[in-house]
Symmetry: none
Subunit: 298 residues, 2 copies
DNA sequence: CATCGGTGGTGCAAAATCGATCCGGCTGGA
DNA sequence: TCCAGCCGGATCGATTTTGCACCACCGATG
């Protein structure tokens, strides 16, 4: 196998016309160039240059090689400029993964703002049900609700956000009807895989024993809006929904803490830094809402 | 300026998935690869790989580099091919790739003859299990069994050879014993990855349901010689082996067609032309044997 | 004819690279 | 649970490559 770096020396000699001129351009001694060219010719089994007293001149074989050598140089230059360019340029793809509830009920306006602010950043929101794997580079940034800090992957870098509380909610109309003595049963609305959280009490209202199960968080919200019963929701969903109220006599409970997670490599890029700083600021502003503190509605 | 040769190391790691695998392929120690990659990353000012416990994985930057690195490799291969293609002297290297079975059981004497005839040609037989890549200049000439003409690479030049038939064989002794009524079971001997070809019947003999599996063609031949059972073999192997006979009642089946493949640039060289013409003649002479026609033995 | 600025080529010591190990961590199968 | 087989990383002589000085040669020039 030839040494690819010898091609660089070959190009320098072909252009400089002499070993010494090439050496000067390459910043090495001419003897080095001499040896590298000799090595290249030996490995290729052909003379690239005629060794004239006036300098090195390309042979016919050398002319043919020159063409491919130029190609290699072009690729090399392109490689360098691309790597160098990507580091500091804002332009490029940024993939963010977060829970669907966070996206639809809280952060989508902020993501939109960020996209407006940086039109060169191509954004991709990976908001499927499952956790995207940052290590596999399925996403560059993850916004996660972490229940136990110890469950954070060690290889990821975390930026802690505000804490997230949840409560028990029901429809305003249903609550009014219940107070008026409506006989219809009030049911627990739960997401199938979760069940009724142990911290959630029924407060003043009483539910029937048969829960109403949904598979999807969105369906759960629609169901509770319809007055089907009571359910647990993050405060930023329940409090922000004008059709819902907290069930009297129930308490808040901490869901977990929001974390902004990034991966070692990608963390250093400008795009990721811009995004994490932006979202971090917005999350701080949301802290009272997330904590379930009273919010003024207009 | 980056060392172009480091790109070769980069490619090896990107393909091998680990520093050690790359080192193996490059024929150097893994510490060398480690240093070259570190040097490349330092000079480019960007991480090309994520250093995971399970190996090296390309970063986003690395993915972009990979594309250009492949371009450089293509240029390099083309360069080597072109230089080789200009070489009209008989003296020099000639690399031939062919299936191990073809080499050991059929063509080795012919290759030896050719080497004797042209002592100036340094020959290298690349007869590993896997197909050598002519475009990568791993070999100059390939002798292949082609099952479907459409699978021939378009960029290669093909010279069609005789057709190749196979049959079902067993040991003479075992057949005699079976005729004498020996109770020992006769088994199918198959190469693990292939299984029993659908065209192969058991003829007059009956086999037990449990096949005997080998991973290697040579082991398969030894097994059938030992009288372990019956197996499918190319006729040039089975008919030429005095210890083996075709299983009565079985038919021949076409394996494929032999092709002499050469690459565009190298086809013009004297060495390659001499070799292809020589082998082509020898193969024609073998046509009856390859087709499974009766051959006189002496 | 001597000189000067250019060329390629060579020998030797310094410097950089590589080979060869050893080590600790991770993983998957026994 | 342990252990074999991977992996990357660190280290230290040995080897290769490079820097550097020096040489012979050629042609132009005064």
């Amino acid at each position: 196998m030839i040494d690819w770096d010898d091609i660089r020396y070959f190009l320098a000699v072909a252009r400089g016309g002499s070993v010494r001129a090439a050496a000067e351009g390459l910043g090495v001694y001419h003897s080095t160039v001499l040896r590298r060219i000799a090595q290249l010719e030996e490995r290729l089994g052909a003379q690239m240059f005629e060794k004239l007293p006036s300098g090195y001149r390309l042979t016919a074989a050398g002319e043919e090689v020159l063409e491919l050598a130029n190609q290699m140089e072009a690729s090399s230059h392109q490689l360098e400029t691309r790597v160098f360019g990507r580091d500091q340029s804002v332009r490029g793809l940024l993939r963010v993964t977060l829970a669907p509830t966070l996206a639809t009920h809280l952060l989508m306006p902020d993501l939109a703002d960020f996209a407006c602010l940086h039109p060169d950043i191509e954004m991709e929101i990976v908001s499927s049900g499952e956790l995207a794997n940052l290590t596999n580079r399925e996403a560059d940034v993850a916004i996660r609700v972490v229940y136990d800090r110890k469950t954070l992957p060690l290889n990821l870098h975390g930026l802690k956000g505000p804490e997230l509380f949840g409560g028990v909610y029901m429809s305003c109309d249903r609550l009014a009807a219940w107070r008026a003595g409506a006989p219809d049963p009030i049911r627990w609305i739960v997401i199938s895989i979760h069940g009724i959280p142990d911290w959630a009490s029924e407060g003043e209202v009483r539910t029937t024993g048969v829960p109403f199960r949904t598979t999807d968080g969105e369906a759960q919200i629609v169901a509770v809006r319809q007055g089907l019963g009571i359910t647990t929701l993050p405060c930023f969903v329940g409090d922000a929904d004008p059709l819902l109220v907290r069930v009297p006599g129930t308490d808040l409970h901490m869901y977990g803490t929001l974390w902004l997670l990034t991966q070692g490599e990608t963390r250093k890029t400008k795009r990721v830094r811009l995004f994490t700083e932006f979202v971090s600021r917005r999350l701080s502003a949301y802290a009272p809402l997330l904590a379930g503190l009273p919010i003024s509605r207009d």
